[in-house]
Assembly symmetry: C2
Homo-oligomer: 330 residues x 2
Amino acid sequence: MVTITEIAQALGITPSTVSRALTGSPRVKPSTRQAVEKMAAEMGYQRNVVASNLRRGRSDIVGIIVPRINRGFFSSVIGGAEQVLNEAGLSVLICQTHERYEDEVRALKTLRTNRVCGVLLSHAIESSDGSHVAEILGDQIPLVQFDRVFSGLPGAKVVNDNFNGAYTATRHLIDQGYRHIGTLAGYMSSEAYVQRLEGFRTALFDAGMAPAVEFPDTIVPETGHEAALKALEAGCDALYSAGDFSALGAIQALKEQGCRIPEDFGIVGTANESFTALMTPTLSSLALKASEIGRAAARAFLDGAPAGETVIPMELIIRQSSNKKQIWQK
Amino acid sequence: MVTITEIAQALGITPSTVSRALTGSPRVKPSTRQAVEKMAAEMGYQRNVVASNLRRGRSDIVGIIVPRINRGFFSSVIGGAEQVLNEAGLSVLICQTHERYEDEVRALKTLRTNRVCGVLLSHAIESSDGSHVAEILGDQIPLVQFDRVFSGLPGAKVVNDNFNGAYTATRHLIDQGYRHIGTLAGYMSSEAYVQRLEGFRTALFDAGMAPAVEFPDTIVPETGHEAALKALEAGCDALYSAGDFSALGAIQALKEQGCRIPEDFGIVGTANESFTALMTPTLSSLALKASEIGRAAARAFLDGAPAGETVIPMELIIRQSSNKKQIWQK
DNA sequence: TTGTAAGCGTTATCAA
DNA sequence: TTGATAACGCTTACAA
């Protein structure tokens, strides 16, 4: 591989000058710069970022840690972040935790030893506090948390407006005339789900309705299926689900029980996964602005990851599963 | 950050010995190794992979380039590859091309300047030949292509058995009693689609059926929708689609035209995207073994990316959209 | 078994 | 505006 030293020799100048010419330093004569650029192109020079990073003490790689990249939400976040970071000349190193604490620790260590210049993190369900994050990253590596965040950690946070979103979704079910509304609450180890639960409860309280049945630890279709059957037994006529996958399982259970949706039973999910628009009935869902979150997280990093929370509003998409009163919506 | 030099000073030995102890060299006295490990842990030492990579002339990062990470197929390939590579102590740098030639060039350059130890590539639709790949990577960086491959490039290839898969899918439509079978053929700039088209044609030929209407450049729902209308006009009663998204658009068009599926019209897609099982009617699809492809690609890289093609069989998943004769299938 | 010394390719500092 | 020099942290002949 061609080095700047070889370019320098070919031109009868020194590596320092070549380096300056190639990094855009103003302390180079224009004619020299041109000569260097020409020679570099001719010789097929490729900058060795590894050496550059060692010398500069930092890299141009930002690490992103997500539970799974094949969840629509996370891949869209990554897409949004990547766009902003690429524009800033940075690359992205992606790690998956598969929702496991151990994999999260491994991912953090990988990013640390690779001396990434920053970490964008949405923690695994299994991780119940953030002490390992602080311990591994130290205070050298800026941290931006998104979606699932630990409030105890330093750095910037980008979150969904879970409370108000869940409040709006629940309020919508109330407005549609449902009266016994339960919830598939997701994992309580995650603040996002706790906030959604609080929004749900508050909406019921504000409407003067009795506290409802709550099913925690529902996040996959199977657990949603099971919980929906219990909800029926408990006399529910609607469910706000803090996730779309559990809502999917719930709908399957309800259909098997002969429930008509939305006439007999209403349901709203969360995340607006792509399948929600393709199901029968189509599933109303509280949309997460995934790319927006990714872009916001990337921008927060570029701003130096200052402490503070950026709250991204959520948007209720009304489809068939909750549309008892046939609200018009395209 | 703590360096091996500092550890050496603290113990009154030299950096070389510390390095040897930490990299597991046998040329270290067991007691010394223990002392080094203890001190490293106490001081919170973190190996600087950047320096190590510069010295060794290579990194432990494998680059993966895919058109989009939020396509179920590609995210599963990445998942499979990541698993195998992580087990081998390697990390994964993921780049998206958004199907654009320019982004593919940019991704290749990024990986090259980061001196990745290998590249796993599935090329963008826009890239019609692989000359840029060879030019950018040179012969220093091993290349493994998967799914969408250029036959002219060196290195290993992992591909779907597109020909036989499409043959089987088409044969299935014939067996179900459809008689005027067309195809949504995808982009002809990609060998994968060309092979599927050949499998389709051969199945018709072997069954003694006339050549059929073929719609190239169909890959998104919109173009599938449009092509389906033309297929109806042309008298088709079935379609083999080389992609699921175009099949989705086609089904919408057919339903709008009052066609009953599968009674009046049969359709089989390709890729087995997650939504195929959630649609109404559910969509039969020729499944790609995504994780299997990812694992095979990673293993090929670990084996040194020897020239040659690994062919991964495809699996026909029969659902409602083609099940005219009501074949039993769970 | 350990130490010495050189160097990976780049960039920052200082001097010219 | 350019050059000389050192250093980033680590690895590895080679010598002891």
